[in-house]
Symmetry: C2
Subunit: 202 residues, 2 copies
């Protein structure tokens, strides 16, 4: 990568270098497929899609949430994957060291920003991970809901090849229901329908 | 696409159908290349990247801006391209009917949401297009800045094959400077450097 062109303003140059560095998120592939089945989804477009979920579905959050905070959280929630890679939610072997890998990535990534921004974004990412505030609970629920919808609308294109069952999906219940009881209710009946249609094993 | 599974709640079903419909934005290609030059960028990841620009560079907005409003605007600014396609900023033939094509797309897309959400998102898109509020000015500036940075960091990978010159780029000056004088100053010196390095024709 070429050096930033304006060395006379180290603050702005660091911020721009960070924005160029995170361009890599567009190349981190997830397991979900696009609805048109042309290819797998990447983390950057997943993050955009989740933010749109927050814009359209805000009324279903379990508690009143600060919209800007939810959006910022969803925009940054997968940033660490530029170094840690994506971890498939049904892969328990990869899940074992996921926390450690992602923490190491966070320690490498966020300090590339000016100090107070690094601290603020790191705190926002920790908040998302800990799932203790209304904003984090809603954001985490959406992060679980979106791949389920992509799966349903692609006839179980990720569930079927990986042999995912309804019981596997139901392990997400708490995260979704806690952030949005109404969305959990919707997802629950969608899963029944997915089993009836043969998209998901019972 | 299968019918929404819960016909007992037409409001939520419409919202979910809209979120599935806009998945198509991930397949609308732009002219910019990713920084790693592996492929062209799509509209969904571009929208995510712009939202991250707003998070990191908010301090450089010409006036104080409402962050949630800027983020929402950037997230939705290219939605109409699911039907209208992307229009290359240096293609004056395509630009001729761009406004008409995008307006028709907006009239088809937004009404898929419940009425008050359709009205609100359409108003937000119109605000972005008209560039008259502080939020729209800053958002529009970022939308011009991001592809210039991608170009610089890929040695002019879009500029060179399309014979784009510094004079072509300088036609963006007003939009950028109006939303962020400081970012314009940065871009201006970056363009000088791009010409020196042979990424951009003088």
């Amino acid at each position: 990568m070429p050096p930033p062109p304006d060395v006379t303003d180290p603050r702005l140059s660091r911020q721009i270098a960070f924005l160029i560095e995170i361009d890599q998120l567009k190349s981190v592939l997830r397991r979900s497929n696009l609805v048109n089945l042309s290819r797998r989804e990447n983390d950057a477009e997943h993050s955009w899609h989740l933010a749109m979920f927050a814009v359209v579905l805000a009324e279903y959050a379990a508690c009143t949430v600060d919209e800007a905070r939810v959006l910022r959280m969803l925009l940054i929630h997968d940033l660490v994957e530029v170094y840690a890679g994506d971890t498939f939610v049904y892969d328990s072997a990869a899940a074992a060291d996921q926390e450690e890998r992602e923490r190491a990535a966070a320690e490498r990534l966020f300090p590339q920003l000016p100090d107070e921004q690094a601290t603020a974004l790191r705190a926002l990412w920790d908040e998302f991970e800990r799932r203790q505030t209304p904003e984090a609970r809603f954001a985490r629920a959406l992060d679980r809901v979106q791949p389920l919808l992509l799966n349903f609308h692609t006839q179980g294109s990720t569930w079927r090849p990986h042999g995912v069952t309804r019981a596997d999906v139901l392990r997400h219940r708490e995260v979704i229901e806690d952030g949005s009881p109404r969305l959990w209710e919707y997802i629950h009946s969608m899963l029944d329908e997915a089993v009836r249609r043969g998209y998901l094993d019972d």
